[in-house]
């Protein structure tokens, strides 16, 4: 028994149906703590050489952390990892909701899926019972539809993760859906599910998790919730959730607009958090033990169709709203629903579709190629494109590969405005005048993702401003001068250790980042749960070690990996922003290189971005790396 943990790794080989229950190793817990740490260690150690991301040999690892499912605010995060079909390197994504806690109460900290089922299947887990079952009736169905079918068949107490048609068709930005509107969206792990003929996992857990000091945890946990209730962010955040940041991002000229052609949308007030509340919201919808629900569940009515939908959250507003020029919240919400039901990551899907629309505008693609006329701001065009992508119909078959491969194959200089890094499409912050945030995207281990490091606030407002302060601060749109690019490495690296640490612990970072729940509470809660005295600083060092390890995975898995995989699209260093607060601003190629030089030096990586041996030694990764090299 290890306090805080369920104590077991569940391995399921879908090829032969063999189920193995392995005791959670104490040294894994001590060295890598949980969640993302477990995933990085296991992928490094266990992925066979030259694994095809969509081949039988690839692994899907679903991991909770030591603080997951425990009595503290927002302890319901679940981390997914795999060799990414989108990037060919380290892939991970996480989801809120209630799945991870259910898995842990069933007795498993980690679920590892390997092999390939002979027929469409789902995995059934009810405490000790683990069965691979046929999924014929679910195959081809959308994520919300499937979840409803499962709830009716198995009962409300089962938690479901499922892929949609896009995952079945191996779309490289297919997402995993859960809880009627939450997604593990990034890096295409749903396509790995599809490649394994695995439609879903249904889990119900009724067991208890051992706790070092349950009496003290109960008392401290209650205090923690009450502490959050009294934070200014508690009342400030809940009404609009993540969508509440829309106005600020637009005001500072960082809002992706028209395939990142510009960074300011004058229609932002029609698609912001206030618009959600006024026009579509039915209920707030929260994740496990979360006092400040981001989810805004509602109904969207448009001329293209109507649907119940959770969201859109900020990322979907940015990538489906500003980026596709959808100018009403109902339209953005409906596009969000289409993505969810098809099982497409709304971030990547938004970027792929916006790239197609720009290609069309420029005459590089025409109605004959694509199957109909398409244009920015037209919901019918967008719904059409999402459908042909998810079903790989016509040109959708190419687009399903993601914007990097699509642009390389199409040519005509379209790579310049294919907005991605490493093969993963960019998320909701335009960075041509936000150098720290630009560097964050460039060096994120999974590709262009904001959840590894978010320093936009630092770029704009300097140190010490929380997201809540930024939103509450108001302000007016004004012309911004070009930002200094030097000296960004430290703040980016600190963020790259801090934010992913929450993915290691298995809890939601938003209580800390957005609501202002302080670090010292986590230290104490960690001790009461696990009985291990580990300072926050010590945990950050584990997170830093994991950062080097994921880089080592990328270096090993992606041939020719290095500096050339850390550049943003050429649009960002060749085209000044044409209008808005950042009109005329951009970061030059020389400045991009300068930032990379500074970053690699600070990281202990060589000029090509490869971790130096001394760095590998310093973080205690030598034996792991050597064991694979030999």
């Amino acid at each position: 028994m290890i306090n805080g943990y369920a104590g077991t790794i569940l391995r399921v080989d879908l090829s032969n149906g063999v189920v193995t229950k392995q005791a959670l190793p104490e040294d894994l817990v001590n060295d890598y703590v949980g969640g993302r740490g477990f995933i990085a260690k296991m992928l490094y150690e266990e992925l066979p050489p030259d694994t095809d991301p969509l081949g039988e040999e690839n692994m899907v690892i679903i991991a909770t952390g030591p603080m997951s499912a425990h009595f503290l605010p927002a302890s319901g995060k679940t981390h997914f990892g795999s060799k990414s079909p989108a990037t060919g390197g380290y892939g991970d994504s996480n989801v809120g909701g209630h799945f991870g806690p259910a898995l842990k109460y069933a007795g498993y900290d980690v679920l590892i899926l390997t092999g390939k089922a002979q027929q469409p299947s789902y995995l059934f887990i009810e405490d000790e019972t683990v069965e691979i079952r046929p999924a014929d009736q679910f195959w081809g169905q959308g994520t919300n539809t499937v979840e409803k079918m499962f709830k009716e068949e198995l009962g409300e107490d089962f938690q479901i993760i499922t892929i949609g048609p896009a995952g079945e068709k191996l779309v490289k930005f297919a997402c995993i859906g859960h809880d009627f509107g939450r997604q593990a969206g990034r890096t295409g792990i749903a396509a790995v599910f599809g490649s394994k003929n695995l439609k879903a996992v249904a889990v119900k857990g009724t067991g208890s998790i051992p706790v070092f000091d349950i009496e003290a945890l109960y008392k401290k946990g209650k205090q923690a919730f009450e502490h959050v209730f009294n934070k200014p962010g508690f009342k400030g955040w809940v009404p609009e959730g993540t969508a509440g940041i829309t106005n600020w991002v637009n005001m500072v000229g960082a809002f992706p607009t028209r395939n990142f052609q510009t960074s300011y949308a004058d229609f932002h007030e029609q698609i912001n958090g206030k618009a959600i509340v006024e026009k579509i919201k039915i209920t707030d919808k929260g994740c496990f033990f979360c006092p400040t629900p981001c989810g805004k569940y509602g109904k969207a009515k448009t001329t293209s169709g109507s649907a119940f939908v959770e969201g859109p959250e900020f990322e979907s507003i940015a990538l489906l709203g500003g980026n596709l020029m959808l100018t009403s919240i109902e339209e953005v919400a409906y596009a969000n629903y289409v993505c969810d039901e098809l099982g497409l990551d709304s971030i990547s899907a938004g970027v792929v579709v916006s790239w197609v629309l720009e290609c069309y505008e420029k005459g590089i693609i025409n109605a004959t190629n694509i199957g109909r006329e398409v244009k920015f701001g037209d919901l019918d065009s967008i719904v059409y494109l999402l459908n042909i992508i998810a079903k790989r119909e016509g040109m959708g078959d190419l687009l399903a590969e993601g914007v990097k491969i699509s642009s390389e194959k199409l040519g005509h200089d379209t790579e310049r405005f294919a907005i991605q890094v490493k093969g993963l499409e960019w998320t909701g912050y335009e960075c041509r005048n936000a150098p720290g945030m630009m560097l964050s995207y460039m060096t994120s281990d999974i590709g262009a993702h904001h959840a590894r490091s978010w320093v936009l606030g630092h770029d704009i407002a300097g140190a010490g401003k929380s997201v809540h302060d930024l939103i509450a601060g108001g302000g007016e749109t004004k012309k911004l001068s070009k930002a200094e690019v030097r000296g960004k490495s430290k703040v980016v690296m600190d963020s790259q250790h801090l934010r992913p640490l929450f993915d290691v612990l298995g809890i939601c970072r938003l209580q800390f980042m957005e609501i202002g729940f302080e670090v010292e509470h986590y230290e104490e809660l960690f001790y009461l749960i696990t009985g291990k005295q580990r300072s926050w600083q010590e945990l950050l060092q584990v997170s830093e070690k994991i950062w080097h390890l994921t880089r080592c995975i990328n270096v090993r898995e992606v041939k020719g990996y290095g500096r050339n995989y850390d550049y943003p699209p050429r649009r960002f260093y060749e085209e000044p922003i044409p209008d808005g607060p950042n009109e005329g601003n951009y970061i030059t190629k020389e400045e991009i290189d300068l930032m990379l030089d500074e970053y690699y030096e600070a990281r202990g990586w060589d000029k090509n971005g490869i971790p130096k041996q001394e760095t590998i030694d310093r973080f205690g990764l030598s034996s792991l790396v050597q064991s694979r090299e030999s």
Binding site: H70, Y105, F180, Y218, I282, T283, G286, F288
Partner: protein
Amino acid sequence: MKLIAKDEYCSGCRVCQGVCALENFREMNPSKAALSIEGLFPSPGKYRINVCNQCGQCAESCPVGAIHLVNGVYLISKEECTGCMLCVDVCPLQVMISHNSMVTPIKCTLCGECAKLCPREALVLEN
């Protein structure tokens, strides 16, 4: 005292279930809670909270008279209960809980901890 559920405020976070199991069993195990949350999704997109309203049907159904009304709250006498679970079957709100780790069913004791910690004020203890 009565525990009132206001479905329209519920966000489905299940803190109430966590605190219920901790208060009554000192276990990290929301499946041992004496209340439940149903998500009505995708349509109509709402939550339903099921809590004990102390209707007493469990006591009426108990063949050995093991459920007693004490200060307005029906409580199970563990000494008298035989674990037949008939009360679980008759509970109209399905909040008498049969748990695989226990011989006796789990019932709301009206301790009010769920109402104290509900972040949404969706559970209220009223006189």
